[in-house]
């Protein structure tokens, strides 16, 4: 991995406009608001409000939790020397595939929706890349890879 000369590197990560701290702040504000209402009603005898408020806040917190879990997801393609490395981070698992640069083939297929999906193929194995890219970005990356790898396959799915 630690090659001195990096010919080409592209990193794609989804956009996250909220930091961890802000997430906790939003959840805290909503929880305080909702729980104080539920507490007030419970004191008036309507204690059945409480479990509903609790369940709802759990759901809310869980939703934000899932989003936070994927905050560090990314995908990178690095070309250095003979090596073409694809690194993917999904939640906590990182996976890396290393292909031979000159054996790697760029596969670009058009979906019925008019968009494109991008694979890198080597030795009969295909690895999809570009999950976090827009269609236009995928096309650009595909053409850049094409110039730096073996061959290109282009066609419809």
């Amino acid at each position: 991995m630690a090659t001195s000369i990096v010919d080409y590197k592209v990193v794609a990560r989804p956009n996250h406009s909220m930091s961890r701290k802000e997430t906790f702040r939003v959840i805290a504000v909503l929880a305080i608001f909702s729980l104080s209402i539920a507490t007030a009603f419970s004191l008036l005898g309507a204690w059945l409000v409480f479990p509903f408020a609790g369940l709802e806040l759990l759901a809310l917190a869980y939703a934000f939790h899932i989003v936070l879990c994927h905050a560090d997801d990314y995908e990178s393609i690095t070309i250095s020397g003979d090596r073409l490395a694809i690194e993917k981070q999904h939640y906590k698992s990182t996976s890396q595939v290393v292909l031979n640069r000159y054996w790697a083939q760029v596969v670009l297929k058009e979906t019925p929706g008019g968009e494109h999906r991008l694979w890198l193929r080597s030795h009969d194995k295909e690895f999809e890349v570009g999950r976090f890219m827009s269609d236009r970005q995928r096309l650009v990356v595909a053409s850049q890879l094409k110039m730096r790898t073996g061959a290109v396959y282009q066609g419809a799915i």
Binding site: I37, V49, A59, S134
Partner: protein, 532 residues
């Protein structure tokens, strides 16, 4: 060489989408879900309208003509529940699904699968609400919930199986709304394009954010309240039964603690979309963006502390009456700021009056009437007269039909070309506007006078002095109902085809959604637009 250890992750966004019915059942695409919400809303709007036309037919003349009082009570309650929970709220959620990702520059909603579940809870909820009508025909039970949409105990404790069905239906609707709200919040907070700070967000997103906050704060109260009703009905509790140490008024507190914010839950998304339309057709930037955002916050907060003005006549202590009166009056202040900003946005612009703008201008006037009559309703002593009379019926139809549904219609005409890629028929749109506005006023202006003259609401038959105005109102209601068919026709026609819409659609539309093609590609833009 290749040491592939990756567990291949198949992402929904990039899977080829299935076709046919499975596409709609399993879709997690925000546009598909938005379309389903809007379609469901339109169907329910027509159904709710049908129910109330039956009611207006009964009220055409004094005497019982077309139905029994029991059935009448079922119709009015189910009409309200359908219009509020199954027509207005899903329409707003439909717009949120369609437009928020586009406006925020996000590829999709944050939690696509939750989005799908949220929608698919709605049809069962509607079926639960309506099923008792059918069951009654089969000889099971005595029809749908007959308590009005407010479920006041002890009347609702006394009611038949329709009440139980309605309680479960409300639970489902509540869960669906909470799911939608969580999704909207996560999307707004986490999916904004780089550079788009909260104070640079489109104002529609702001309206929806406050709506989502309000839903999350108040839905548990409604859910708790109706569950207590259920246990009172079947499990021997006495939450609302004075004989067992309970208090029937507690239910009204619970209900309206949800019910009053509900008004703003329905209206805030509309207040969010109106500035977009005004800006577009006045060719002038939004006036007082910050002032509008702060007003949204002020109204959101005030809305949870004024609930008891819905039951001034239950005999609250004097300090409580005064508190709720003044706090209710103070809602007029942020609302006035909004009106000021809307009119200031039009002021010295270069206006044209396509259908969305017509609806918006009509909306401002009619919603203004709703707001101003709301101000006088805040007066406790006079409210003793207005309360539960037709004056109130007219008032809340000015806020919820004019302020809610006409705003939604403005939004439909405004965004439909973007969604479908086709222009709607302008002539039919204008015809729809004029018929709706005129018929709406013919229907509801007489109801103000009916209320002043002393006609209580929710009565199936009335004294002779109320005959003329009721007759006018019924005629208006039928014209109003029929003119919505023009709308339906126009929408279907636009979906099917018609003149191509440009990306920008309108001459001076501003916002990220107008940078995309019309219609936007199935996979929304993950372009990561940068906001300067």
């Amino acid at each position: 060489m290749s040491t592939a250890t990756a567990t291949h992750h198949q992402d929904d966004h990039h899977a080829e989408h299935p076709t046919g019915i499975m596409r709609w059942l399993t879709t997690t695409n925000h546009k598909d879900i938005g379309t389903m919400y809007l379609t469901f809303s339109l169907i329910m709007f027509l159904l709710g309208g049908l129910l109330i036309l039956a009611v207006r037919a009964e009220l055409f003349q004094p005497g019982m003509q077309v139905m029994q009082p029991e059935f009448f009570n079922q119709l009015i309650g189910v009409h309200a529940l359908i219009m509020i929970f199954a027509a207005l709220m899903p329409a707003a959620t439909g717009f949120a699904n369609w437009m928020l990702p586009l406006q925020l520059g996000a590829p999709d909603m944050a939690l696509p699968r939750l989005n799908n579940w949220g929608f698919w809870l709605l049809p069962p909820a509607a079926i639960l609400l309506l099923a008792p009508f059918v069951l009654a025909l089969l000889g099971i039970g005595d029809g749908a919930v007959a308590t009005g949409w407010t479920f006041y105990a002890p009347l609702s404790v006394q009611g038949g199986i329709g009440t139980d069905f309605a309680i479960f239906s409300v639970h489902l609707l509540g869960i669906s709304s909470v799911m939608g709200s969580i999704n909207v919040l996560v999307t707004i907070f986490n999916m904004r394009a780089p550079g788009m700070t909260l104070m640079k967000m489109p104002i529609f997103a702001w309206g929806w954010m406050i709506t989502a906050f309000l839903l999350i704060a108040t839905i548990p109260v409604l859910a708790g309240g109706v569950t207590m009703l259920l246990t009172d009905r079947h499990f021997g509790t006495h939450f609302f039964d004075a004989a067992g140490g309970g208090d029937p008024i507690l239910f009204q507190h619970l209900f309206w603690f949800f019910g009053h914010p509900e008004v703003y839950i329905v209206l805030l998304p509309v207040w969010g979309l109106i500035p977009h339309i005004l800006t577009t057709f006045s060719r002038k930037p939004t006036y007082g963006y910050k002032a509008q955002v702060y007003s949204f916050w002020a109204i959101g907060i005030l809305s949870v502390v004024v609930w008891a003005h819905h039951f001034f006549t239950v005999g609250l202590p004097t300090p409580a009456l005064l508190y709720f009166m003044y706090s209710t009056m103070s809602i007029s202040l942020p609302l006035a700021v909004l009106f000021f900003c809307w009119i200031a946005t039009m002021w010295r612009g270069s206006m044209t009056f396509e259908t969305p703008m017509l609806f918006t201008v009509g909306w401002i006037i009619l919603f203004g009437i709703g707001g101003l009559t709301g101000l006088v309703l805040a007066d406790v002593a006079a409210d003793a007269q207005y309360h539960h009379s037709y004056f109130v019926v007219a008032h809340f139809h000015y806020t919820l039909f004019a302020g809610g549904i006409m705003g939604i219609m403005a939004g439909v005409y405004y965004w439909l070309p973007k969604m479908t890629g086709h222009m709607y028929n302008e002539k039919l749109g204008k015809l729809h506007f004029w018929l709706t506005t005129i018929a709406f006023n013919v229907t509801f202006i007489p109801q103000f006078f009916l209320g002043l003259a002393g006609m209580p609401r929710r009565i199936p038959d009335y004294a002779l002095q109320f005959s003329e105005f009721n007759m006018i109102s019924t005629v208006g209601a039928f014209v109003l109902g029929l003119s919505q068919l023009i709308f339906v026709y126009n929408v279907i026609r636009t979906v099917r085809g018609g003149e191509k819409a440009t990306d920008k659609v309108w001459e001076s539309s501003v916002g990220l959604e107008w940078t995309l093609p019309s219609p936007p590609p199935y996979h929304s833009f993950s372009e990561q637009p940068v906001i300067k």
